[in-house]
Symmetry: C2
Subunit: 246 residues, 2 copies
């Protein structure tokens, strides 16, 4: 429930509010990758000074959602393909750990909550709204919270949001991060106390997400390949002397 606007926030909370607002905007792709983030404009929009905006941007930079170049300011990060690969690699490691911690230890209420969440994802997906991206990520976050391990929760949160940004760059437009059936299957394995199966499912799930998105556009990143059909249709051939970068 949002606070009343003219109730002053407690000390230190305003920077956090700015941080959260920016983070949400990036993840939901209201701020697209590469967008410039000037301190003045943001501070003006939120009614805070540059000091607090800087603090928020610094945090986002540490998380990898924002890139800060000295004397040139902050932009929404544009992850490289290598960073994308790294993020999914780490994510797989963390989520496998999570599966092992959770298998067979979920209370009935927790399972119910997860099912409810999956239903929400389903709805949002049917509507095709942009919040489906956020919800898909939140499923993983919800699982992380249930481990009771605050550090794991933070890391999963961080790496999930980074993956969301990556998908916004390399993924197909508005394709949801996670297929619904995969989440259901994972939950089923967890309820069944089958850690290995849950871990394998999660691994496959993440692998699928990564491949659908990143590997698909790994080809597209090569401008020669990308332009080949157009060149052919126009009867144009590459200059013989120049070679594509190795």
């Amino acid at each position: 429930m949002p606070r009343h606007a003219d109730a002053p926030l407690p000390a230190g909370a305003r920077a956090q509010a700015v941080y959260r607002a920016l983070r949400g905007a990036i993840i939901e792709q209201a701020l697209r990758a590469g967008t410039k983030l000037p301190e003045d404009a943001i501070g003006e929009r939120f009614g805070v000074s540059r000091t607090l905006v800087r603090e928020a941007l610094t945090r986002l930079a540490i998380e990898g959602l924002v890139e800060i170049v000295p004397n040139r300011g902050a932009t929404v990060a544009l992850p490289t393909l290598e960073e994308a690969r790294d993020a999914f690699e780490v994510r797989r490691g963390l989520e496998r750990l999570m599966m092992e911690l959770l298998a067979g230890r979920l209370s009935p209420e927790q399972c119910a909550n997860l099912r409810d969440h999956i239903a929400l994802e389903d709805e949002a997906r049917a509507r095709g709204g942009p919040e489906s991206i956020r919800l898909a990520g939140e499923f993983h976050l919800l699982l992380a919270q249930m481990t009771g391990n605050a550090l794991l929760e933070r890391y999963i949160d961080e790496v999930s949001s980074r993956c969301a940004l990556i998908l916004s760059v390399y993924g197909r437009p508005h394709s949801p991060e996670c297929a619904i059936s995969e989440h259901s299957q994972i939950l089923a394995a967890l309820e069944n106390d089958d850690a290995d199966r849950a871990a394998a499912l999660m691994d496959a799930h993440l692998q699928a997400v990564a491949e659908r998105a990143v590997l698909a556009s790994a080809q597209a990143a090569d401008i020669h390949t990308l332009l080949a059909p157009f060149a052919a249709s126009e009867g144009l051939a590459p200059a013989p002397g120049r070679k594509p970068r190795p």
Copy 2:
């Protein structure tokens, strides 16, 4: 190689320098857990304004090495036992991933570097210097760098330093974080392309470190158990009406 003192650092580098200095001091236990960290004093010491000190402290707080309470300033963090457990749990997950990424993929030079490092640890350990703590952590960091995964490197670095802080609180004084032979064995398994064995060794290694330190003092945290031998030697019995906390 340290910079000349009166050469001005490039933009944004001074905050980082303060961050690094404080971080090192905490990990090497020059600043012990619980120590107050006033912005003025630190800024004066390093010749920078409170602004930059705040930035450094914020970063350390995100990493969990420093605790910031609004309006009350920053102190070196005093991790709880639960946070300690969480940190080692996450660390095991991350380092297992690392073993899988590295097994059978280390170049001869890399192996040589690792051996050299282990030798350094050995020396420092023999001398009993405080840098043995740092070196033991750096072995893990060195491995992380060799994965080529920058995100994994950052997480391992973060969680390692947090573990170092934890050991400074709950570990026995000046006991090195890692036994040397364990590092050697892990390296051997990695060279041998035996991912499972390397993972198992690393798991056991971290488990051993955690148990030697944390579990040992988990008992000590219970003041009743802690005082029992002293009470007995003085012929004192607990008050019958009062019960120890469950």
